[in-house]
Symmetry: C2
Subunit: 441 residues, 2 copies
């Protein structure tokens, strides 16, 4: 095995793959661990605060506010090196990670490995939907949706044909989890408040927002009361909610909704947001191949109670990539399992026995509109302004870095107390002349 | 002539082309004018505060903070309609503007026309430089440069070859006007402060910034003392300044500098910023063709003392597109000529004689680093902290809208008192794996 530059044999080499919530909190937990050398590998230069991605897509926050650079967050961790590279292969026998660093092969040796590869959008086998229904997993997704949302209002203002204009002002949101609910709510907020008085031909209040959920309630991971309150609040705002319904076809022109009774409805809609499913990243399959790891049908890797890989106690799988005790694919699970893996490595270095992972459910939150959120915390199921205050406190607490907390608070003041949206500038293809081909895109 | 919907024959129809400083201040000046109907045409959905473009390129401000949506700025002007379209032809005989509105032909009749088309980057006949040296005129320019700047530091950290790494960490800024000076200063600030401790292999302080100016001094439009102070300050920060020098060749690999004595130097540099020349937008040539207007060698339209087109007193040309009394192509001239054209139309409607335009020079400012700016105001030539305070007050005053003032102040606090840069997230092609081909781009 080749040693990386600067390593001594005293140091325990830890490699973390991925800097989402799981990888970031694993790295942080190792901050004061003596005699370790940590290498954090990610293909992106930023951590991403995914729960607020919908606010980038709707112009409230800027991309930087939810995506701080990994190097900057961890700059003071002297024993840690950040490598921007794409992992290509994991060799659990030689204990090496093979990656591609801007076209150059890179091999990193490890004594312990934490795999926190996260998840991508799943179209449930309908990968052809991808071209017309954007997912909500990356900053690129959010920026593409932002252009699409503000761009289609421009196209609608220019459109003379009634049917074509209605199509441009219709948004289908697929999936009634937190992302779908918050996205649907914000699209209504946008059309009712932020775009007020902006247009002369169209009335943004005529915007149609259709929310499609496969089960019998919204926010299924939260309590029944929360689901009821959410449906009521969104309904009052004018969101059309279809429960027990599936989007069975998607094209650039619109979406086909198949309802519980088997009937179908074709909704002409320029914008489709796919917030329905997630699938574990390709790293799951990579581990299956390398170490014979078992994966579930969502591609997640089955792990031991301490989050380690069966037969490879030096390899940990955490967060959305991990299948353990039916834990949901949420930030809180990633944070806690990432930290647990780090602590387990530390305990072993100290000669202590590893402990099984125990999840502390701190509750779930979703913002419906300004000053209005739902929360499910232990026995409590809150909504309205109290829920929103809680949402505010939790999100400010978990946003990474003082700078981003400060910035987000300032922008929320502008957007929620005022009516503005900061980020509405259309760039790239969104020039009047160039965009002629995308009128039905 | 066809009448637009809602027009009555009492109303005087004014068309404004372009919503830069000239067009925006023309529209604002018409806010309370009775019996007018104003149509503002732009191919972009946003106004752009160009003097702060370099702060978007270096990650300090977000795009929305300097590019508010035109519709939103002018939403309360009930007599005004904003049209997103690209002007294709001006018919000064029929008094019509022909435009392309997302692929649909649009004809707008006017009684008075204000053409505020602005300027684009000029490569002085070397249009082949464009592919390797990005201009600094649009939001797309700034975002592309932002990706390039933060991306090349990532490439440098991954690079094993010394010469290749030096090339990645070298920035050539062409043009010693305000944009070039501020850009060069910020690149040094970035490498000295914002990226501190971020990397393990490279030291961002090794960044080489080369500023090339064709004349014998920086900020030539300001006083000689200001030029001297600027050169001193930038020199102390480590910027290499070449006066009386030209960039005579540019490729993806670097730039060739030809000095006053005729000698040449090849500077290997991944990033070239072209802040050297501007050329009036194509609307100048369009007016020349339509109305036989005379244009100067920079493509600017020669106008009468009241900013109107010779032979067409109902057509005004303002801002960077206009050639009058050797006035410089700066925001202040655009603001004052735009407002003057509007007031002239108003005076005519009231049966009053038009007045010639008189420029009130309010001075010039350029920020060199944090807490350090130069200013030339009347007989005063300031620098240092006092200059910077003035810079701060002026920019906050002229930023459009309360929201953007508030946001910019918050971000400047973060960047200047702190050391952070908000917007460093790399998107689009800047993923480790995809970018392998651009290692020498």
């Amino acid at each position: 095995m080749s040693d990386p530059v600067g390593a001594t044999h005293r140091q325990h080499r830890i490699v973390i793959i991925g800097c989402g919530f799981g990888g970031l909190f694993a790295a942080r937990a190792l901050k004061r661990t003596p005699d370790v050398q940590v290498t954090l590998i990610d293909r992106r230069n930023h951590h991403l605060f995914q729960p607020l991605l919908y606010q980038v897509a709707t112009g409230i926050l800027s991309e930087g506010e939810i995506a701080p650079p990994i190097r900057d967050i961890l700059r003071k961790y002297k024993s840690l090196r950040v490598v921007l590279a794409e992992v290509q292969r994991i060799d659990v026998v030689a204990r090496q990670v093979h990656a591609d660093e801007f076209g150059t092969p890179l091999t990193v040796d490890y004594d312990s490995l934490i795999v926190a590869g996260g998840a991508t959008t799943s179209y449930f086998g309908h990968d052809d939907f991808k071209a017309s229904a954007r997912g909500m997993k990356s900053l690129d997704d959010a920026l593409a949706l932002r252009g699409q949302i503000f761009g289609t209002f421009e196209l609608a203002e220019a459109e003379r044909d009634d049917a074509a204009r209605h199509r441009l002002m219709t948004f289908v949101v697929v999936g009634g989890g937190p992302t779908g609910v918050e996205m649907a709510g914000q699209l209504k907020e946008l059309s009712r408040r932020a775009l007020h008085n902006n247009y002369r031909r169209i009335n943004p209040r005529d915007t149609r927002v259709v929310l499609v959920e496969g089960t019998d309630r919204l926010l299924g991971s939260m309590g029944a009361r929360v689901s009821r309150l959410t449906a009521r609040d969104l309904g009052r705002m004018g969101v059309e909610i279809h429960l027990n319904a599936m989007v069975t076809n998607v094209s650039t022109e619109g979406a086909e909704i198949t309802k519980g009774d088997g009937s179908t409805e074709w909704v002409p809609a320029a914008t489709k947001v796919w917030a329905a499913g997630t699938r574990a990243a390709g790293l799951g399959a990579m581990l299956a191949e390398a170490a014979g790891a078992e994966v579930d049908k969502a591609g997640r890797v089955l792990v031991e109670p301490d989050c380690s890989l069966p037969g490879h106690s030096e390899v940990f799988v955490v967060g959305d990539l991990m299948a353990l005790d039916d834990l949901p694919a949420v930030a809180e699970v990633a944070i806690q399992t990432g930290a647990h893996a780090a602590h387990t490595i530390e305990r072993r270095l100290q000669g202590k026995e590893p402990k099984p992972f125990r999840y502390h459910d701190l509750g779930t939150l979703a913002a419906i509109a300004r000053f209005r959120a739902v929360a499910h915390i232990g026995p409590l199921q809150l909504d309205g302004f109290v829920g929103w205050l809680l949402w505010l406190v939790v999100h400010i607490t978990f946003l990474t870095g003082f700078k981003n907390r400060f910035g987000a608070l300032a922008r929320w003041a502008v957007s929620f107390i005022g009516r503005g949206r900061y980020e509405r500038a259309l760039t790239g293809p969104w020039v009047a002349r160039v965009e002629r081909t995308s009128k039905s895109a």
